[in-house]
């Protein structure tokens, strides 16, 4: 079941309710390979639910989600979990790192889960931590790192598998302006370098300005596409 377009990730007329409360009322959005797409919208507009549906974390009540043209929403939970591990990277505002583990452990974890041998996984983790300016911090527990350092570890972990799509939900929400800027520079720069698509949820227009394209979600639908940028960053 493949679609006839060139999108890397796509939601078509997706609806999702929690109990009697509709969160998405027919949301349609798509991102091209290598595109950085920002999804903005007021609190409660459904933007995070849309990201969770695109990432296969939530199954929509109706509508379709496709990864590189292939239906994702009708797969079993086990298949979607495997796809998430192999094809997607995640950067959230809080909580995706295991605080008791070291920075290197956290970055190596997705590789180890994908059965990469331990030596290669830790070598790759060291390379990524170095690229993110964290060399020397690899043996520190992430719970002991500053917010900006921890978020850079999260970016390293999201990038380490060279995922097709990186989902970032308010990735700078807990950081000050300059630290957030550094995280966004690294996230978008490195994602672009390796050709990953980025779907970025943010309420912050300065963060959205890193994206190639911005869409607005209002009342559970994508209500406006603010257009492609002439020159990618």
């Amino acid at each position: 079941m493949t679609g006839g377009n060139n999108y890397m990730i796509e939601a078509r007329d997706v609806r999702k309710s929690f109990g009697r409360t509709p969160a998405l009322r027919g949301a349609t959005v798509a991102a091209a390979p290598g595109e950085i797409l920002a999804i903005m919208g007021p609190s409660g507009s459904g933007k995070s639910t849309l990201l969770h549906c695109l990432a296969g974390i939530f199954r929509p009540d109706s509508g379709e989600v496709r990864l590189a043209g292939t239906r994702l929403d009708d797969r079993s939970e086990a298949v979607r979990t495997r796809l998430r591990r192999t094809h997607f990277g995640f950067v959230f505002q809080f909580g995706q790192l295991v605080p008791e583990l070291t920075a290197a452990d956290n970055v190596a974890l997705p590789l180890l889960l994908n059965r990469v041998n331990r030596k290669s996984a830790y070598a790759a983790a060291a390379t990524w931590l170095d690229r993110l300016g964290l060399s020397g911090k690899d043996r520190r527990r992430t719970g002991e790192l500053s917010g900006g350092e921890a978020q850079r570890v999260a970016v390293a972990r999201a990038l380490t598998l060279r995922p097709k799509v990186i989902f970032a939900d308010e990735p700078t929400g807990s950081l000050d302006t300059l630290t957030g800027e550094k995280v966004m520079d690294l996230l978008t720069g490195l994602a672009r370098e390796q050709g990953s698509t980025v779907v970025l949820i943010t309420h912050d227009s300065r963060v959205a300005a890193y994206a190639d394209r911005v869409v607005l979600v209002r009342d559970g639908v994508v209500s406006a596409d603010l257009g492609a940028k002439a020159v990618p960053l």
């Binding site: 959205a208 209500s223 603010l226 257009g227 940028k229």
Partner: protein, 177 residues
């Protein structure tokens, strides 16, 4: 703030005398500074000369305010284009944006779409400035930061105004006539 375009848009609601136009202009867009009668009539004269309004017959009575002005098709087209166009994204746009949103609501036009057009123009400018920060030196970065913070403030105003559109619609439609 464009007085001719604002008067033209006010005339789209219904043909009016200069006095009525001045009263509505002062109420919504004067911000405590009244529009002089002389400027109202001079502007209406120029709009009539350019074919954007037509003056009706002189009505009997005293004083200068004896003509009723009506918008023409050319005038309507000009209002259309003005409302739908984004303003060049630069700091301190609120006065013009406020006027455009208020007039759009008075005229039953899609104010939300107009705000989205402006939002897109702002985001494009912010993207350009963010790009500049990546390639420029520290002075460029600091100047771009200043512009970005101002544009961000505009966007916050646009977001808040979008959330308050129905309230504003009730206000202008209840009091505009």
């Amino acid at each position: 703030m464009s007085v001719p375009l604002t008067l033209l848009a006010l005339l789209e609601r219904e043909p009016s005398h200069g006095y009525d136009l001045k009263r509505d202009y002062d109420a919504y867009f004067g911000h405590g500074k009244q529009l002089p009668f002389g400027q109202v009539y001079a502007t209406l004269g120029r709009l009539a000369r350019d074919g954007k309004v037509v003056a009706g017959d002189t009505e009997p009575g005293d004083g200068p305010d004896r003509k009723r002005y009506a918008i023409t098709k050319a005038g309507r087209n000009e209002v259309d284009a003005w409302l739908a166009d984004a303003i060049e994204p630069e700091p301190h746009l609120q006065t013009v944006l406020f006027a455009k949103v208020t007039l759009a609501l008075m005229l039953g036009r899609p104010a939300e779409s107009y705000l989205d057009v402006q939002r897109a123009a702002h985001m494009r400018r912010m993207h350009e400035l963010t790009r500049l920060k990546r390639s420029g030196g520290l002075v460029d970065v600091l100047l771009a930061d200043h512009a970005l913070f101002h544009l961000e403030a505009d966007l916050r105003w646009i977001d808040t105004t979008t959330a308050r559109l129905s309230e504003l619609r009730d206000l202008v439609n209840g009091e505009s006539r």
